[in-house]
């Protein structure tokens, strides 16, 4: 086991690389699962009208709505859960970098990473729904 003081940039790089890879694989796995169910249930129907923008309903646009919908087995909401996982991957990456810089005792980069993280969290939770 490595001592904290021995954590180097290279270790951080590896951690980030694995996080990105598995995050994206998990997200596409969920989307694929939802997609298969979606096609079995609705494959023969006519496509929804995408030529007019009406916006998606709450079940697809709120975090709560998506999770609840996915738990009931709704195919489109399972896909949307995959979409959430995909969006969460880069955010988790920034969070991991924050921990890594803290372990390296690099105060300046802890601050820089905190700024990036707070911008992202503001966009997620900050009521930017205009």
């Amino acid at each position: 086991m490595k001592k904290i003081s021995e954590i180097k940039d290279k270790d951080v790089d590896l951690l980030v690389a694995y996080l990105l890879r598995y995050g994206v694989l998990l997200a596409s796995g969920i989307a694929l699962l939802g997609g298969i169910i979606y096609l079995i249930q609705h494959g023969q129907e006519a496509i929804p009208d995408y030529t007019f923008f009406h916006g998606e309903e709450d079940g697809y646009t709120t975090y709560r709505g998506i999770v609840e919908g996915a738990l009931t087995g709704s195919a489109r909401e399972i896909i949307q859960l995959g979409v959430l996982a995909l969006i969460a991957t880069p955010i988790l990456r920034v969070f991991c970098s924050l921990i890594a810089f803290a372990l390296e005792r690099d105060k300046m980069y802890v601050l820089i990473t905190l700024i990036v993280l707070s911008v992202m969290l503001t966009s997620i939770f900050g009521g930017l729904k205009v």
Binding site: K10, L20, G43, F52
Partner: protein, 277 residues
């Protein structure tokens, strides 16, 4: 058209978008928007939502390999992400008040610019004298060339940072990674060797796109029926492209693709002026 047929066509189209994107360095989102709007008549707002997801998927998928090899400058990426994420959120907010035809015209202009950037000669040399600000921010680093590590320094941190903010706004507004603008900032302003600038740009795209994607998701721009084939297709295409890239020289392909992109861009601009979006 049935959902099944539509999904399969979109899956195939997205696969080629991801394949060409990773072979030419233009990113999958660039092809996904014209494919959805011009071919399928999908509203540009849904297309932007899907393209953002394509950008995150390709960035996260391919960045992992470059980070592992130690080419990506993770500190530089994090520092510049302050600029791109703020820009992306601002861009996503402006998008609500921007008419869709204006977005289409702007997309066409950026597309032509990106194509031109892709075929131009890039900075290969490592800078040996950097600015003091770059040193203070610990942005100077090394990258592997063959068996040895080459050290490089950088300058014009302020100019690079401002260009990155602009790249972020464009990314948030149009739903693309705006890799060409990011590379321009690192390559032309900060004088970073192109291998580092392209991989670091790729690495940053996911974070920039995720910042605006959260806004778009809550505004209802992301439709699962479009998102599913686009994510899966582009990602599979990008993985294939990365494998092929090691075995081929995509120089000619890049030129052909860029010419094609310019035609698509002109079509977008023309339709935008004719108010067809």
């Amino acid at each position: 058209m049935s959902v099944l047929i539509f999904t399969l066509i979109l899956l195939l189209g997205s696969y080629f978008a991801g394949l060409l994107g990773s072979l030419t360095g233009l990113g999958g989102g660039v092809v996904v928007i014209p494919l959805l709007t011009l071919v399928f008549g999908v509203d540009i707002r849904y297309a932007i939502g899907a393209a953002l997801l394509a950008s995150i998927a390709t960035s996260s998928g391919s960045a992992s390999a470059y980070v592992k090899e130690g080419i990506t400058n993770v500190r530089l990426g994090m520092f510049l992400e302050i600029a791109t994420t703020v820009g992306a959120v601002v861009g996503a907010l402006i998008a609500v008040y921007t008419p869709t035809n204006t977005i289409a015209i702007l997309f066409g202009v950026i597309l032509i610019f990106s194509a031109a950037m892709t075929i131009r000669k890039k900075n290969q040399d490592a800078l040996s004298e950097g600015s003091s600000l770059a040193a203070r921010l610990k942005l100077n680093s090394t990258y592997p060339v063959g068996d040895k590590e080459v050290a490089y320094k950088l300058k014009n941190v302020g100019a690079g940072f401002s260009l990155m903010t602009f790249a972020g706004v464009i990314s948030g507004l149009l739903g693309i990674g705006s890799g060409a603008l990011k590379v321009l900032a690192m390559d032309t302003a900060m004088h970073i060797p192109f291998k580092v600038s392209t991989t670091t740009s790729n690495f940053m795209i996911g974070v920039t796109a995720a910042a605006s994607a959260a806004v778009y998701l809550q505004r209802g721009y992301m439709d699962p029926g479009l998102a599913m084939p686009v994510i899966l297709g582009v990602l599979a295409g990008a993985f294939t492209g990365a494998k092929l890239l090691a075995r081929m020289n995509p120089k000619i392909l890049r030129i052909i693709f860029c010419v094609a992109i310019v035609f698509v861009a002109l079509q977008m601009i023309y339709n935008g002026i004719q108010h067809k979006f």
